[in-house]
């Protein structure tokens, strides 16, 4: 980063004594724009000695996916993005038949159950109910008076969201794949933790009169950042980082303006 071409040094206006035209010993002060000596690379040293990096929404050790970081002045945007309360999308993989103490497949086994009575239809029914109750929670925690006309209009457009602290809420959930004993869900949620999603998989298993553990949690979208914008391990170098920041800048600004305006 330090090898990249640097900003031009600041200029300042100084009054320098120059010999007056026309000879003689008189000295005049003439204004001239001169580079500030303090900005010279030999005086100041390398531009960047350390970088301030801030992290966006937390991601578990066992989970994977999009993780938003802010560098330097971008950390201020991070707090703004947090206050936007945008939804995150996860792909959650589960396995029927087992129940463990930490709800994932690497925990201590608690119970094994049969699962041959489970059909895709039953699972979708349960998902519809989960979505319904969470929809209610969405409206309740958004702290809008239900009796006003604007509450009705926001509800019609689907824009009611809790804009402060709230327990985890799932805004949308659907089943992507279903092949007994495995299944995969897509979950859109707010203010959640990955352990909460694993607990949700466990509860779905209980509701279907069986048991389930979570095998995979992958975040595919965090607010405006999707998997396409994210950099995989092989691209963790300066060029790609700078390009990625440039590409996302517009999106982030537009979103912040829309929500916090």
């Amino acid at each position: 980063l330090n090898a990249a071409p640097e900003r031009a040094p600041r200029q300042q206006v100084r009054f320098l004594p120059t010999p007056a035209p026309g000879g003689g010993g008189a000295v005049e002060l003439v204004a001239a724009s001169v580079p500030v000596l303090a900005d010279h690379p030999l005086v100041r040293g390398p531009r960047f000695r350390k970088l301030k990096i801030g992290a966006g929404h937390r991601l578990d050790v066992k989970a994977s996916g999009v993780f938003v970081l802010g560098i330097g002045h971008g950390n201020k945007l991070l707090t703004d993005l947090y206050n936007c309360h945008l939804t995150k999308v996860y792909t959650v993989g589960g396995l029927f038949g087992k129940a463990t103490d930490d709800f994932s497949d690497t925990g201590n086994l608690v119970e094994k159950t049969t699962f041959d009575h489970i059909t895709r239809e039953k699972l979708e029914r349960i998902l519809a109910v989960i979505q319904g109750t969470n929809q209610k929670a969405l409206l309740m925690y958004s702290n809008i008076d239900m009796k006003t006309q604007e509450a009705y209009e926001l509800a019609v457009k689907g824009l009611i969201r809790p804009m402060g602290k709230s327990p985890p809420i799932i805004t949308a959930i659907r089943c992507l794949q279903f092949a007994l004993p495995e299944f995969q869900l897509e979950i859109h949620c707010l203010h959640e933790t990955q352990q909460y999603l694993r607990k949700m998989v466990h509860e779905i298993g209980l509701e279907l009169k069986s048991s389930a553990v979570c095998t995979q949690v992958r975040r595919t979208r965090d607010g405006v950042f999707t998997v396409d914008d994210a950099l995989p391990r092989t691209q963790w170098n300066l060029q790609s980082i700078q390009e990625a920041i440039r590409n996302c800048q517009l999106k982030v600004e537009a979103e912040l303006e829309k929500t916090l305006a």
Binding site: L109, T113, H117, V129, T133, M146, K147, A155, L208
Partner: protein, 434 residues
């Protein structure tokens, strides 16, 4: 010497073997059936919810519960196929061939639940029935006839059977039970249950308004009896009728597939999707065709909203459901489009996004609409129940006591199959998920 080895943390192989050796529990087999349940909520002091411990607590720590704000399970032995809520009482009916087919609970001051013999005094009957009690119907073939549907009005009730016509009981001061009005008749503790058989064909739907009754036959004609001062009998006059008489007007010759009424206004839907209305129009329910406040002949309501599948008539507001699954409301009161829409004469559509329709689930639509006196209920094809309207003594079931100005989901632990709305309570038939 290696005989006693201290146990360290289990190795992967030991863990795997322990897992495979663990016993497998079975909670539900492949042929596990979904159970049918009944949930009730609303005002309980009239006994209409059917849970006696809410009115008279049977344990020392229990307190009387005046209002049940969220759905509460009502235990019944038989599968309830039809339910109806009246003004402070409820009827539950099952499709069985057993001798007891109908149960009633709630107010019984006009014998709207038949004669419930009191245990303290064998000659008198109960005025409040707190538990679902069987209603003895004078059937000719009790072990063959099935009860298809029940309906409740203000102080009378109708029971529809498949082969023995319609049974009516309760208050008859306006002839709503279909028999001649007897002056100064005492309805409390009465054993009289009247049977109606003379219709042009088999009756397939019975509907109770506040003090009148409507019967729809298989041929598509509608009969009415009862109070007519608002023209709700639709017979062309404003007097009471004590014998079910056929309606004419704009529905003569039209095949009607559904009739609905709860207050003093009535709506009928034909097989071609047209809506007909008659009765009270003080709240602009029929203002699209006439300026008068009472209409005593069925009139066609020329709405251009598409083919109508189902109609529901409340006390002051009406709702219809079209073939596409959209709900249209009109009338007066809390109509479901926010606090600003209080009255309208032309139907207005409620946006489907309020019923759970979104880009994620584009095939969610409303399957049924029902009306209470000042509430509306809608059932979606996903088995969710949405309610809105005036929250009279907690009857909406949302858990809050405030009125609800737009459709709000009621959390019921199951898929809602049908719902019956009353004045201050509601009953729903629910199937469990698995």
């Amino acid at each position: 010497r290696g005989f006693c080895v201290p146990a360290g943390p289990p190795s992967t192989r030991q863990l795997r073997e322990a897992e495979e050796a663990a016993p497998v529990f079975q909670y539900a087999g492949k042929a596990a059936k979904r159970k049918d349940r009944v949930f009730v909520w609303g005002f309980s002091y009239s006994g209409a919810l059917g849970i006696p411990s809410f009115v008279k607590p049977d344990a020392g720590w229990k307190k009387p519960r005046r209002i049940q704000p969220t759905p509460y399970r009502l235990e019944t032995e038989d599968k309830i196929s039809s339910a109806a809520c009246g003004y402070g009482f409820t009827l539950l009916a099952s499709n069985t061939r057993d001798i007891t087919k109908v149960w009633g609970m709630g107010l019984n001051k006009d014998s709207q639940l038949g004669f419930q013999r009191s245990r303290r005094d064998q000659t008198k009957g109960y005025e409040y029935v707190l538990e679902p009690s069987p209603i003895p119907l004078p059937l000719e073939k009790p072990q063959q006839t099935r009860v298809l549907q029940v309906s409740c009005g203000r102080a009378h009730s109708l029971v529809l059977t498949d082969s023995e016509g319609v049974f009516t009981m309760g208050n008859n001061s306006y002839g709503q039970c279909g028999r001649k009005v007897v002056e100064d008749e005492i309805y409390s503790g009465s054993h009289l249950i009247h049977q109606l058989k003379e219709f042009d064909s088999r009756v397939v739907q019975v509907v109770c308004g506040q003090d009148h009754s409507l019967f729809r036959t298989k041929k598509g004609s509608v009969y009415a009896c009862g109070w007519g001062a608002d023209g709700q009998t639709g017979l062309g006059h404003y007097n009471i009728t004590s014998v079910p008489t056929k309606l004419h007007g704009d529905i003569a010759g039209v095949n009607i597939i559904q009739v609905s009424s709860y207050g003093d206004c009535c709506l009928a839907v034909s097989d071609e999707g047209d809506v007909f209305g008659w009765g009270n129009s003080e709240y602009l329910q029929l203002a699209s065709v006439t300026e008068t406040t009472q209409v005593n002949v069925p009139r066609h309501l020329p709405f251009k909203i598409g083919k109508v599948k189902e109609a529901a008539c409340g006390g002051t507001g009406n709702a219809v459901l079209t073939e596409e699954g959209n709900v249209f409301v009109w009338g007066y009161g809390i109509l479901g489009k926010g606090p600003n829409l209080i009255e309208t004469a032309e139907p207005e559509m409620i946006p489907p996004s309020l019923f759970g329709w979104s880009d994620f689930s584009p095939d969610t639509r409303v399957a049924h609409v029902r009306c209470g006196l000042s509430q509306f209920a809608a059932l979606t094809n996903r088995g969710e129940l949405f309610v809105w309207g005036k929250n009279v003594r907690g009857c909406l079931g949302t858990g809050r006591m405030e009125d609800q100005y737009f459709p709000w989901r009621v959390t019921v632990p199951g898929e809602v199959v049908d719902v019956a709305c009353g004045v201050d309570h509601m009953v729903s038939m629910v199937r469990s998920f698995t």
